[in-house]
């Protein structure tokens, strides 16, 4: 019961406290405004470079945008605790670490799904990209799984925040790297082998591939391999993050480094 309370109430409070995103003046430009222009920017480059169609860019970017909340959010969750000098108190609590940190991830996954849904709506309204209504449930499932796997990667960054002082730099770097390696705006097969190799180890890559096939009419079972791979990658990152949390918590206690800024 205590774990459930830590998971749900703690996660909710953390989301409210750490983000400033509850203010519309912060949330709307960052989480909804910027994605609109990101989609338009890449769709127009695609038109200019004569590579792929608008649907390719809307699907790729809409799924990628589900990563933003998870990665930045988890980085800010730990980085923010350090910045506000509350990390020591958090680490001193007897609360189980699994619900403590996974609870913080749950609102971010929901946030990622909302951003992604908004991006698809923008693609439909501004670029006339139609996706059959029958395909939407499968697409929603893929977006949710991609948001989960990206939030798992965010958990890893958050865990590194127990050790590193400037975790925001890393979060930015990871978000930009996903744009490069995951085939968000470039046909995956056209990229060099080593870029594809890195991309296959990252969240998003298989989710985007699955989403594109679903948008073209495939069913969820047709892309089950891709979906399971995406889910598996997310699970591996989540497990890795939890191990890192354990290691860095012990390390932080030993070195008394939770309050370093």
């Amino acid at each position: 019961m205590t774990n459930l309370r830590v998971f749900f109430v703690g996660g909710y409070l953390s989301y409210r406290a750490l983000f400033n995103w509850m203010q519309p003046t912060m949330y709307i430009p960052t989480m909804l405004g910027a994605p609109v222009f990101q989609i338009l920017f890449f769709a127009y480059i695609g038109r200019f470079a004569e590579v792929e169609n608008d649907e390719f860019f809307v699907v790729g970017n809409a799924v990628q945008l589900s990563a933003m909340a998870g990665i930045y959010g988890m980085a800010m969750t730990i980085g923010g605790e350090r910045w506000t000098q509350t990390l020591s108190q958090l680490m001193a609590t007897p609360a189980n670490r699994l619900p403590l940190f996974l609870g913080r991830a749950l609102p971010l996954i929901a946030n990622g799904i909302i951003t992604s849904a908004f991006a698809f709506a923008v693609g439909w309204l501004l670029l006339d990209v139609h996706i059959d209504a029958d395909q939407l449930p499968a697409l929603a499932a893929v977006v949710a799984i991609s948001a989960f796997s990206c939030t798992s990667l965010g958990l890893v960054i958050g865990a590194l925040g127990l050790r590193a002082r400037d975790v925001f730099f890393l979060a930015n770097l990871v978000v930009f790297s996903l744009l490069l390696f995951c085939g968000v705006n470039v046909p995956f097969d056209s990229m060099p082998g080593w870029v594809q190799a890195v991309g296959r180890c990252l969240p998003l890559t298989h989710g985007i591939m699955a989403a594109r096939e679903i948008a073209d009419g495939a069913s969820l079972s047709d892309v089950s391999n891709l979906v399971w791979t995406e889910l598996g990658i997310g699970a591996v990152y989540a497990a890795g993050a939890f191990a890192l949390f354990k290691v860095f918590e012990l390390e932080g206690r030993r070195r008394a480094s939770f309050e370093s800024i």
């Binding site: 770097l173 744009l179 470039v186």
Partner: protein, 256 residues
């Protein structure tokens, strides 16, 4: 002479301090390289013939805009957080001369972007680095930095009136990349975007660099950069006066 010395000293100080900032290294070197790589891959996969130098210059200019936007947009707010805003305003020189070196420095840091994308493109994507008109190119670089730096002054003095200036910076990065034709020909965009692009220095800056590098007459674009810079300076002056008056009246200089 004293004004020139003040601007020079301030510019030098801010360029050094921004160079040590991890955030600015990310914005001005790593981010442009990643975006340039994405653009190179897109143009290589696409059917449009043309030189990748066009892409390299555009991607470099994206970095100049990003560092100006985030650096200048939050310039006054940073001074406020650091508790130095009162000193900057109380110092004998006009506040304008204290802020201009900072906004020019943020645009100058963007030159790292241009160097990085050109070098990256040359090393890994066979981008040719032959500049057709070297003299015009060398003049176009500082003209572009001055144009963007003074646009930064307008950003610095207007964003301060908005409580979440960083949210506004997040919002304005992509639209200006798009509307100023850094990687997309303006002819592809809706007609109403044209007049917006004309009043933005990056449009003329990237055209000046491209005309001088790829072939053409860059001097009209260089002239437009400097002319727009003068207009931004006047607008920035009045906005700063307005901000300073409001802050003194409401005693909000140290409000964080």
């Amino acid at each position: 002479m004293r004004t020139a010395r003040l601007i020079w000293a301030g510019w030098k100080f801010h360029v050094k301090s921004l160079t040590l900032s991890g955030f600015f290294i990310l914005t001005s070197v790593i981010q442009p390289i990643i975006f340039a790589s994405v653009a190179y891959f897109m143009f290589k996969a696409g059917a449009r013939p043309g030189t990748l130098l066009y892409v390299a210059l555009g991607a470099g200019m994206m970095g100049i805009w990003s560092s100006t936007l985030f650096g200048s947009g939050g310039a006054i707010q940073w001074q406020r957080w650091q508790g130095t805003l009162e000193y900057c305003i109380a110092a004998p020189p006009p506040f304008l001369l204290v802020i201009v070196p900072l906004t020019l420095a943020t645009a100058t840091i963007g030159l790292y972007s241009l160097s990085a994308t050109l070098l990256w493109g040359w090393l890994f994507f066979d981008v040719p680095l032959n500049v057709a008109h070297p003299v015009a190119f060398v003049v176009a670089l500082p003209a572009t930095v001055i144009g963007l730096g003074l646009l930064g002054l307008v950003l610095a003095s207007s964003f301060i009136l908005y409580r979440n200036a960083n949210a506004l910076s997040n919002l304005l990065e992509y639209p200006v990349w798009l509307a100023t034709g850094l990687l997309v020909s303006l002819s592809l965009l809706p007609v109403w975007v044209g007049p917006i692009s004309w009043v933005l220095a990056p449009t003329w800056g990237v055209n000046a660099l491209r005309e001088s590098a790829i072939a053409g007459n860059a001097w009209p674009e260089i002239g437009m950069c400097l002319l727009l810079g003068a207009v931004y300076l006047v607008i920035g002056y009045f906005l700063l006066e307005h901000f300073e008056r409001l802050a003194r009246e409401r005693a909000t200089l140290s409000l964080t």
